[in-house]
């Protein structure tokens, strides 16, 4: 028997845009069902550079994209204060760079006009000596440097904060739930059929179905009998499990593209590539030549990069709008809201293109389109209403730490994920034990996430709370984490063990491409440690 439900809108796709749309529509009073085939933010969103940026490189192509991007970044920074932090770039200019120092500073002077929109400071120009004083690891032959400020963000938490707020406003949201079919009725899309993690099929009727599946949107559009044209672009990042520099560093690759080494909370992302992608969207591999391309590009401005050990890679596909141009990098990150009514699929709306920094605006415009179709007048309030955890100022980390018996660092990290709800999170598990010591993550937080944040696997826990994200890659914590999650979800001992093994296997796939770079010796140690843990628990 097929279970059936009815709502105003079904949103397909639980990346940041889909989650933003679900939040926006539910805050306007509509009943919403949000469906994601994997985990929240596990696709393109999670494989981003983890930045809310204004897009200075779009100044060369389209100032309006930069303005809109900065404006929306400003809104995101306001509603998600606990999730964002300043990222300051040093942009060194070397001999033979595409842009000389004067051109580079001109671009930053123009960008400064937009910076106040996102509450960022204007640029500075540094002499070679000053740049080397700020970051002694820069190449000594630099001609000078300019700085640029952006915002860093944990995209997984940003997505979930949107999901959480949608739920708080009455939406229903399911991860690991795949849409198998769109229900068509004489030129109209009237709902979806979807498969839950237990394999059961349900039906959801809706007045509007929104396709917010990023690079998967052409596949979903085909279910409605219409076409969406994208030019998917693959981007990879190398992840270093620590800060390499307090400043983020920009460099020019061998083919003149901009590469970024971004200093996030406790790790560094080096990226990104931008190549046309024609492969399987559910299996995007990282190639060794892509790794070499990134390291070579950064090495030119930061020669010590090869002394550092990347711990894993990320790979994703951008849903770039289709355009016939030579270089992928020049394609605009503009977006488009498509009402497919004219193509014979009334009630079906797609949102394509765009980028993380503009997700809220994309969600607002898509929601406007949906409301127009439904004849609803309500306006969006997502630009001003805080996301969960930002309604009030959090307790100082040291105070929370002493009250709850955890290290101040753990309290600080907890607050970056949960804001003012951090104490509520710690109360849930009634334990102050640290589970992942690298990050660090408390056992209470993992219990809370499993109970209230739809953690269904250890990979979900990695995204939600950062478990096993540190230098040991889970060697010291993953079995214990499997026990905690398993206890909450009713797993047997062997299911918990299998979950840990699956996580380790998945982590290995992301790590293998970077082991050629200082990694093998330490990998041997880490693998030994991992095997030891497993053997000590006896044969399975």
């Amino acid at each position: 028997m097929i279970l059936s439900s009815s709502q105003d809108v079904v949103v397909i796709g639980g990346g940041v845009t889909g989650a933003g749309i679900a939040r926006d529509l539910s805050m306007r009073g509509l009943s919403v069902l949000l469906l994601e085939k994997g985990d929240w933010g596990a696709g393109t969103t999670g494989a981003s550079s983890w930045m809310i940026h204004g897009g200075p490189r779009y100044l060369e192509f389209d100032w309006d994209t930069t303005r809109l991007s900065c404006q929306d970044a400003g809104h995101i920074v306001t509603i998600a204060r606990n999730l964002v932090y300043r990222v300051v770039f040093l942009i060194p200019v070397l001999p033979h760079d595409r842009n000389n120092i004067e051109r580079m500073e001109t671009a930053m002077e123009v960008y400064d006009r937009f910076q106040p929109l996102k509450k960022a400071h204007p640029h500075r120009r540094l002499t070679p000596a000053e740049a080397l004083q700020a970051e002694p690891g820069l190449a000594p032959d630099l001609i000078g440097a300019v700085t640029m400020e952006e915002w860093g963000v944990d995209p997984h938490r940003l997505v979930f904060a949107n999901v959480q707020d949608a739920l708080a406003h009455g939406a229903r949201a399911f991860n690991h739930t795949r849409v198998t079919e769109l229900i068509n009725d004489g030129g109209r899309v009237i709902g979806v059929r979807y498969q839950s993690p237990d394999g059961s099929i349900s039906e959801a009727r809706a007045r509007v179905v929104v396709n917010a599946t990023g690079p998967w949107s052409p596949e979903v559009a085909v279910m409605a009998g219409v076409q969406v044209h994208l030019r998917p672009a693959k981007g990879i990042h190398l992840v270093y499990p620590h800060r390499i520099s307090n400043f983020s560093i920009s460099a020019e690759s061998i083919d003149g593209r901009d590469l970024l080494m971004v200093a996030h909370g406790g790790f560094t992302l080096l990226g990104t590539t931008d190549d046309d992608f024609y492969g399987d969207l559910d299996s995007v591999d990282v190639m060794e030549d892509e790794v070499n391309y990134l390291i070579q590009g950064i090495e030119r401005v930061f020669p010590a990069i090869r002394d550092y050990r990347p711990v894993r890679t990320t790979a994703g596909v951008r849903p770039t709008l289709f355009k016939w141009r030579r270089y992928e990098d020049e394609l605009s990150r503009r977006y488009e809201v498509i009402d497919h009514a004219a193509e014979g699929a009334d009630g079906f709306v797609s949102i394509v293109g765009g980028k993380l920094s503009m997700y809220r605006l994309m969600a607002e415009e898509t929601s406007d389109a949906v409301c127009r179709k439904l004849g609803l007048q309500a306006a969006s309030t997502t630009a001003s209403r805080p996301l969960p955890g930002n309604e009030s100022d959090p307790t100082p980390a040291a105070e929370l730490a002493s009250r709850c018996g955890i290290p101040a660092l753990a309290a600080m990290k907890l607050q970056t994920r949960h804001g003012s709800n951090a104490e509520k999170v710690l109360d849930e598990g009634r334990t102050s034990r640290l589970l992942c010591r690298c990050e660090p993550v408390t056992e209470a937080e993992l219990i809370y996430s499993t109970r209230h944040e739809q953690v269904r696997s250890l990979a979900d826990a990695f995204r939600r709370v950062g478990i096993a994200a540190g230098p040991c890659a889970g060697a010291a914590c993953i079995l214990r984490a499997a026990e905690v999650v398993g206890r909450e979800l009713g797993w047997s001992a062997s299911q918990s063990f299998e979950a840990a093994r699956e996580f380790v296997r998945g982590a290995w796939l992301g790590r293998a491409p970077v082991l050629g770079h200082v990694g093998w010796a330490q990998e041997e140690l880490a693998q030994g440690s991992m095997r030891g843990l497993m053997v000590s628990r006896g044969p399975r």
Binding site: L126, E135, G265, G266, L409, R437, G470, A475
Partner: protein, 131 residues
């Protein structure tokens, strides 16, 4: 069209910039940069520390130093190396964790399988957390 318009505006801005550079004498900006971001924990790294830095972040959290050493303040040695050292900024907010005595860090470092100089790590973390 947008591209041509953008390039024209950039060209104009470039002209203005060059003129301004000719008329105004550039001033040092590093100290104001560091002042601006001091509250965010974004500070310059020292040259000697930069050279040693790749060695200071190699901890794989095997835990052996915890058996040989103990704690720096309230913090276990493996946490100091795998957790505090990797953050580098904002450590001022966690200064209470590393206040207090230190164990024999050289003895603890002797058992480290990746040869991490724990005494240097402790010194860096303490310096950053007291800023």
């Amino acid at each position: 069209m947008a591209r041509a318009d953008s390039l024209a505006k950039l060209a104009f801005a470039y002209g203005v910039h060059l003129t301004r550079r000719r008329l105004r004498r550039p001033r040092p900006q590093l100290s104001s940069l560091l002042r601006t971001y001091a509250a965010d924990g974004i500070q310059a790294i020292e040259p000697a520390e930069r050279d040693r830095h790749p060695r200071l972040v190699t901890c794989i959290n095997c835990g052996l130093c915890a058996l040989a050493g103990g704690r720096v303040g309230k913090t276990r040695l493996p946490d100091l190396a795998s957790s505090y050292m990797r953050l580098y900024a904002r450590l001022g907010e966690a200064s209470s964790d590393v206040e207090g005595g230190s164990p024999d860090l050289l003895a603890a470092a002797a058992v480290c399988p990746v040869g991490l100089p724990l005494d240097e790590v402790a010194a860096v973390v303490r310096r950053l957390s007291t800023r």
